[in-house]
């Protein structure tokens, strides 16, 4: 089992070499003439006003919460799907009930307006 991941480890090392080589080579041959105007943040061509690091919209968190519910659901359903051919019809019914509960959760979030972009 563990030996399966040896290749992933090798590939991680090699895949890091590509950006390293590209950036290194570019660093050697590219011009380096910075000035304060060039290094200022782009904002439609006029002088930049204030920081961009501000408070996020709360809406994004609500989507993230609904997402967590469904992602955990996927973690439960994937092993079930792998073992599906060995399972009885009863196990199938159980997971149908499980998906139905999730569907109710989705409907609840929908009715509550969590999925409305205001």
């Amino acid at each position: 089992m563990r030996s399966e991941f040896v290749f992933v480890g090798i590939l991680v090392v090699f895949s890091m070499l590509l950006p390293a080589a590209g950036l290194g080579f570019a660093w050697l041959i590219r011009p380096k003439k910075p000035n304060p105007i060039k290094k200022s943040t782009y904002e439609c061509g006029i002088a930049t006003s204030s920081d961009a690091w501000v408070q996020f919209r709360a809406q994004y968190y609500i989507y993230a919460l609904v997402f967590v519910v469904f992602d955990v659901e996927a973690v439960f359903l994937l092993p079930w799907a792998v073992a599906y051919n060995q399972l009885t019809a009863y196990a199938m019914l159980e997971s149908v009930v499980f998906v139905a509960i999730l569907a109710v959760a989705l409907i609840y979030a929908w009715r509550k307006g969590a999925l409305r972009w205001s």
Binding site: L11, L18, L23, A26, D51, Y63, F67, V96, V99
Partner: protein, 390 residues
């Protein structure tokens, strides 16, 4: 790959089989990490420009080399020689790591992609989960880039990336569960082996959900709100220039190829085709060719969509994901699960018919639901789309 390792032990005396495996893996990694990005990016950027030019009744690149085929190399030279500008207010560490992560994440997906019979980096038991997990690392790179730039356009692009990722990850995973259900395995090699009939035929709902969700995850038009140039300049990579911009570009095209390759693997039978059954050299070449053709067809469909469909608005995009694709995906999953447990489904043919019938039922029900929603809504254009009169 096993065959090459075995052959190496006969050619080099005293070489053990584990060491031979390691050598093959290192060579294949190097090919994936250096050869594949150059080949894929040069070939598919050229194809994209030509295809879109054709759709828009233009000629497209035609100066660099015969018919412009060297355009990609010309662009690479240009990118390498451009000055690298880092905004003074940027978070330098995150800002510099983001482009590297974008290309690393896209290359890592290739580890489990079966490109020909026996040619696969590693056939992980949890291959599907690996694909979904590593595939979403690319979106993390866009978030890092957008946040660290300290640029308002980039930040809005990064927010959109996250919203889009979480919305389309859900239907994508549901479509994948349907494939796993039908194949009985999460190993990509096994999924290819299970497709005597491609899942495109037996699970059309899963195919369309997965196609749309991967287009959203790769951030391709019509789901390219992340870098909508008419609204937020260039989105998350507004501040990037030179080689760092090029790395995002490499990441995007590698991701495009990997995404299309997975659609081909999961739904079109991967490398399977006439004459690609056994492990002979001819079969490997044929299988590779089938895989390349299927992947290119999927990429063409994505380019065609980019050239013809207008960009979605962010609330429409999220609504489409949560209120249409997710419920339809859940319904299709339940329908397929129930259909496969109908007593007396002994032969494969009956199983295929049952899966297809379940998918057909889901399509019919969702069309009725769309018509109902269109009738209820006040929008005249929506009524027109759904064919509702009055």
């Amino acid at each position: 790959m096993d065959a090459i390792a075995a052959w190496l032990t006969t050619v080099i005396p005293g070489l053990g089989l584990p060491l031979a495996h390691l050598i093959v893996q290192v060579v294949y990694s190097a090919a994936l990490a250096f050869g594949a990005p150059v080949g894929i990016v040069v070939a598919y950027t050229y194809m994209e420009r030509k295809v879109i030019a054709r759709v828009q009744d233009r000629i497209g690149p035609n100066r660099a080399g015969p018919l412009g085929v060297l355009q990609g190399f010309a662009d690479a030279v240009k990118m390498l020689t451009k000055e690298d500008i880092t905004p003074a207010k940027a978070d330098r560490l995150v800002y510099n790591l983001a482009p590297a992560l974008a290309s690393v994440a896209a290359i890592l997906v290739f580890a489990v992609l079966p490109v020909a019979p026996g040619v696969i980096g590693t056939d992980l038991h949890v291959g599907i989960i690996y694909v979904v997990a590593v595939g979403s690392l690319g979106e993390l790179a866009s978030l890092m880039a957008g946040w660290s730039s300290d640029n308002k356009f980039a930040l809005v692009g990064a927010f959109r990336t996250v919203a889009q990722l979480v919305t389309y990850e859900v239907p994508m995973v549901i479509a994948v569960i349907m494939v796993v259900l039908a194949a009985g395995s999460m190993q990509l090699g096994q999924i290819v082996a299970a497709q005597d009939v491609p899942f495109l035929v037996t699970l059309p709902v899963a195919f369309f959900i997965f196609l749309a969700a991967s287009m959203a995850e790769i951030g391709r038009s019509p789901f390219d709100l992340v870098e909508a140039e008419s609204e937020i300049v260039a989105g998350f990579h507004t501040e990037y220039s030179g080689m760092k911009f090029a790395l995002f570009f490499i990441g995007e095209y590698m991701h495009l190829f990997a995404g299309a390759g997975f659609i081909a693997t999961l739904f079109l039978g991967g490398w399977r085709g006439p004459g690609a059954g056994d492990g002979s050299i001819l079969a490997v070449i044929l299988g590779w060719a089938y895989f390349a053709v299927k992947t290119t067809v999927i990429i063409f469909v994505m380019m065609w969509a980019r050239a013809t469909l207008p960009r979605l608005r962010i609330d429409h995009l999220l609504d489409f994901g949560w209120k249409f694709m997710t419920p339809v995906g859940l319904a299709a999953l339940v329908a397929v699960a129930v259909a496969l447990k109908i007593p007396g489904l002994g032969s494969p043919l009956l199983r295929w018919v049952a899966m297809l019938a379940a998918n057909g039922a889901v399509i019919a029900v969702s069309l009725v639901a769309i018509a109902w929603a269109a009738r209820r809504s006040g929008s005249a254009s929506l009524r027109g789309v759904a064919g509702v009169k009055g």
